[in-house]
Symmetry: C2
Subunit: 514 residues, 2 copies
C-alpha cells in the first residue's frame, strides 16, 4: 500500500502511528494511506515562514514564473492526474478535468498576472492623492506581502484546484504556503507536490498529508489561515484560541445554499430557459453535486413549476450513475462513506418537508461496480410550495446531487428575499431577459452573495455556468458562506498582503512603487 | 446631575439600576451619569436593522447629504462641544479641537465622496472584464451594502471623532449604525446624538450610553461589529459565540506600539530633524498621549542618541501640565482613574527595564487644580540600548504621555526589524532624506503597518504628523493592532459592503452600475 508522505521542513516526512486509509469510493478498496502523527509541525511552520524573506525579495514577475512552471507541470502529468482523481475521488473523466484543468488554468491566470505586474514588489492600491496643502504632500496606498506563512486547509472535493487556487494567490502575493488537503482524497494533491517539489524554491510550498494536528497552535499575527469546508470546522478555526489571541487573519469559504432563480419572462424552450435547465442539471450532477458553488435551491414562478419539474426530471433520470472510469457513466459516487451518510441524512430531512420530483430518497443501483459497494446516490430533486418557510431547504447544505425547487409569485423582490433566506451564499444565478426585473432582484441579492450569475439569451452560448469559480471573479460569500473572498484577479492577493498607506513627499512615494 | 439617555428603537430611553458616573478628570467631580440597564437591546438592533432598507434605497449622494448635515450640526455647536470635551475628557482646547474638528472634517470628507459617487447605489469595484470567448460575456465586481446593522464600540479618547469616522463610512455605504461610546467620556457623544437626531432618518443612527449589555448577542451574519479599544476586549468580541456562529464581520483597531525611526542621514537642526523632534513631542503630549496612533517607540542611530535625548528632554520639560481649561496649560490629565492606574503600572514596567531621559515615573504637581486631585501624569521618556530585547518597550502599550527611545546601528533593515518587533502597528514614521535608505526600511516595515509616514525636508512644512488619522488614508494595522482597516476614502466603505462579482451579458452589467 502506498503511504503518502508530507513535504514539510523542506523534506518528505512520514508520520508515525496508525495511518488513515484512502479508498476508491466506487469500490471501497483502499488505494493509499497517510499519517502526520509525530511530525514537528511547529518546525514546519517556522521553516515555511522563514522562506518568506526570499519570496518577498522576488518581483511579481519572478513569483509568476514559479506559478507558470507549476501549471506546466500539471499539464505534463495530466493523464496520470486524471486517473488518480477517478481512482481516489470517484470522478468521471469530465469531473476530473474540471478539477485538474481548473488547477492548471488558475495557476496560469496568476502566472500571467505576475508577468503583468512585472518588476514591482509592492502592489499599488489606487492612485496617489494629495493630503497636504499642496500636491507635494501626498498619500499612496500599497499592498505589501504579509511577513508570515499562509496555511491552507482544503476540502475533499477539489484536491488539485483547491491547492492551486489558494497557492496561486498566496505565492504571487509573496507568502509561503503550507497546504493541507482533506486526507480522504489526497492522492492527487500528493502527486502534485511531487511534481512541484523540484520547481518551487525550498520552503515556499509545503504539504501536510494526514491530520492537521497542532498546526494552528503555531500561527502568529502576520500569518494567514484560509479554510474551505464545513461551517462547523470553520467555527472551530475562527474561534481557535491562537487565532483569536494573535489576530491571525482567517478566510472562510463554507456552506452555501446557492439559489437559481427563473424570472417570469423566460418561456419554455427559449435560449434562456435551456440555459437554466442545463445549468441546474450540470450543477446537480457534476462532481456528484460536490461543489460548493452547486445550485441547491431552484426558484421558479408558480405558473412554470410543472414545466420546470418535467424538464429537470427528464434530464436527471437519464443520468447514468456508476463506475466513473466507464465512458457511459455520467455521475460517479460521492467521495467517502461519511459523505454518503451525510447526504442521505440531508435527503431524509428534505423528504420530511418536501415532495419528490425525481430520485425519491436517492437509492440507486450503480452501473459497473460490485453489488452493494461504493458510495452512490441518485440525483434527487425535491419540491416545496412554501420555500420561505422550508428550513430544510434553506438552512442545510446537502453536499451531493440534491436540489429543491420552490415556487414564488413572479415578483423579483420575493425571489430575492428567498435567495437571502439562505443566509449568505457564494453564488446565486438569475435567469431572465427583462433587465428591469433582473436589476430589481440584483439590488436585493447582491448584498447576500459573493457572485451573481445573470443568465440571459445574449450570453447563453458562451456561459461557463454559475458553478464554475473563475480566477478572474470573486469566490466567497457573506454570512453562512463564511464571509470570505478568494480569487477575483488581483483581489485574491489582498488576503495575503497588508494594505499600507504611504504618506509623504509625492516624489518619494512615486519612487517606492516604481 | 445630568443623566445621559440612550437613543435606541427610535426614541430616547433611560436605563434603570445604578448608573455609572462620568467625572471631570481634572477635578474628579461628577459631571453626568448613565445606565443602559433594562433597555431592550434586541429590539434596538432589530429596529436599526429594519431601517436599512430605506437607507439602501438612497443613492450615495443622498446618504452623503445626511453626512453633510451632520458635519454642519457639529460646526454649529463647536464651542459648546469643545467645552464638554474639556469638562469630561480633560482635553485642552487644542486637544478638543483635534477631536471635534476631526469629527466634522471626516463627515465632510465622506459627504463629498457621496456627492462624487452621485446617483449610484452599487459601488463599482474595478472595470468590467471579459470572462467568455467574446467581449459579450463579462464580469463586473461591485460593492453592495450589507443588509444588516453596523455596531460601533468606540474608545474613550475620541468621543466625537470615534463616532463620526465609523458612522461616516457605514452610513455612506448604506448601513444603519448603533454607536456605543465609552461611558466615561460619553458627554460629548450624547450631545452629538442630540444634534443629529432631528437631521438623520429615524433608525439610521442610534446611540447606546452605558454598558453594552447583551448587544452582541443580537447580531447576525450581515451585521458588522467595529471596535476600537484594548486588545483584551478585542479578543473577547472576536471570540464571542454569536460572532463566531454567525460569521459576523468584525473590524478591530487595538493596541499599537507605533514607532518613529530617525534615519542616520538626518543632521541635528535640519528641517527633517526638527520635524522628527516636533512630531515625537506632539504625539507624546497631544491628548495626554491618549491617541492610538501616538508614537510609543523612538528609534535613533546610536551616534545621535545624546542629541535626541537632549532635544526631547528640553521640549518635554517645558510642557505645563494641569487644568486643561487654562490657556497656559499644554497637557491635561488622562481620562479616568483607571487609565491613570494603567499608565502608572506601564511606566513602572518600563522603569524596571529602561533608564529615564525625563519625567522619571511620571509624578507631577498639576497647575490650577485642587491639591492631590485629578488624573495627572508627567511626560515620561525612557531609554534602552537594547530595544529588540526590551519586552516592556515592544509588547505593552502605555496609553499616556510615555515613550521609549531605543538605539540601533544605523542600518535600515535593523531599524525596520525593531519596528516589526511591535507585532503589527497602526502607523510607523520614518524620518530621512536618503531615499534608498527609506526605501529599504519601507520594504520591510510596510507588511507590518497600516500606514507609513515618511518624514522628509520636502514635506516638513505641511505635514499633519504621523498621529493624525486622515479620512483619505487607511487607519488600522495587522497583528497586535487588530488586523483591521478603516477610512482610506472609499476603502472605508468596503467593511460595510459585500463584494459581489456580477457575471453575464456585458450590456446588462453596464446598466446595473449606471
Amino acid at each position: 500500500m502506498k503511504t503518502l508522505a508530507s513535504y514539510l521542513d523542506g523534506r518528505w516526512q512520514q508520520g508515525t502511528g496508525a495511518p488513515a486509509a484512502l479508498v476508491n469510493p466506487a469500490t471501497e478498496e483502499p488505494v493509499a494511506q497517510a499519517s502526520s502523527a509525530g511530525i514537528d509541525l511547529g518546525q514546519a511552520v517556522r521553516f515555511a515562514r522563514d522562506a518568506g524573506a526570499a519570496l518577498r525579495a522576488m518581483t511579481f514577475a519572478e513569483r509568476g514564473a514559479i506559478l507558470a512552471a507549476m501549471a506546466k507541470a500539471i499539464h505534463g502529468a495530466r493523464d496520470e492526474l486524471l486517473g488518480l482523481a477517478t481512482l481516489n475521488g470517484g470522478n468521471t473523466r469530465g469531473d476530473a478535468k474540471f478539477d485538474i484543468d481548473g488547477a492548471a488554468g488558475t495557476l496560469a491566470h496568476y502566472a500571467e498576472l505576475g508577468a503583468q505586474l512585472g518588476g514591482a514588489r509592492l502592489l499599488a492600491d489606487g492612485e496617489a492623492i494629495q493630503v497636504g496643502r499642496t500636491a507635494r504632500m501626498g498619500g499612496q496606498h500599497v499592498w505589501a506581502p504579509r511577513p508570515g506563512v499562509a496555511v491552507h486547509v482544503n476540502a475533499f472535493n477539489f484536491p488539485a484546484w483547491g491547492l492551486a487556487e489558494k497557492a496561486a494567490c498566496a505565492l504571487l502575493a509573496g507568502m509561503p504556503v503550507i497546504s493541507k488537503p482533506a486526507t480522504a482524497t489526497a492522492l492527487v494533491t500528493h502527486r502534485l507536490m511531487e511534481l512541484f517539489e523540484p520547481i518551487v524554491p525550498r520552503g515556499v510550498l509545503s504539504l501536510l498529508c494526514g491530520s492537521a494536528g497542532d498546526l494552528i497552535d503555531h500561527l502568529r499575527g502576520p500569518d494567514v489561515l484560509a479554510f474551505t469546508g464545513s461551517s462547523d470546522t470553520a467555527r472551530t478555526l475562527r474561534g481557535h484560541a491562537r487565532v483569536i489571541a494573535e489576530s491571525v487573519r482567517v478566510n472562510i469559504e463554507a456552506d452555501s445554499l446557492n439559489a437559481a432563480v427563473l424570472a417570469p419572462d423566460v418561456l419554455p424552450g427559449s435560449e434562456t430557459w435551456n440555459l437554466f435547465v442545463a445549468d441546474v442539471v450540470r450543477d446537480m450532477t457534476q462532481k456528484t453535486g460536490q461543489k460548493c458553488t452547486a445550485i441547491r435551491r431552484v426558484l421558479v414562478p408558480d405558473a412554470r413549476f410543472d414545466e420546470v419539474a418535467d424538464a429537470l426530471r427528464e434530464r436527471l433520470t437519464a443520468i447514468v450513475v456508476g463506475d466513473p472510469a466507464r465512458e457511459d457513466v455520467r455521475m460517479g459516487p460521492v467521495a467517502t462513506a461519511q459523505q454518503l451518510r451525510d447526504v442521505k441524512a440531508g435527503i431524509a430531512r428534505l423528504a420530511a418537508a418536501t415532495t419528490s420530483i425525481t430520485g425519491g430518497t436517492g437509492d440507486i443501483e450503480a452501473v459497473g461496480v460490485p453489488a452493494g459497494k461504493g458510495y452512490f446516490v441518485a440525483p434527487v430533486l425535491r419540491a416545496t410550495r412554501e420555500p420561505l418557510a422550508c428550513d430544510a431547504m434553506n438552512d442545510h447544505e446537502v453536499f451531493g446531487p440534491v436540489a429543491t425547487v420552490g415556487v414564488y409569485d413572479g415578483d423579483a423582490a420575493q425571489a430575492a428575499t428567498i435567495v437571502a433566506r439562505g443566509g449568505g451564499g457564494l453564488v446565486a444565478s438569475i435567469y431572465g431577459d427583462d433587465r428591469d426585473w433582473v436589476g430589481a432582484a440584483v439590488a436585493i441579492a447582491a448584498g447576500w452573495n459573493g457572485r451573481l450569475y445573470l443568465g440571459s439569451s445574449k450570453m447563453a452560448a458562451q456561459s461557463p455556468g454559475p458553478g464554475t469559480a473563475l480566477p478572474s471573479l470573486n469566490h466567497g460569500g457573506p454570512g453562512r458562506a463564511g464571509d470570505g473572498g478568494e480569487l477575483g484577479g488581483a483581489r485574491g492577493l489582498h488576503l495575503y498582503m497588508q494594505r499600507c498607506a504611504l504618506e509623504g513627499d509625492t516624489s518619494v512615494l512615486k519612487s517606492l512603487i516604481a
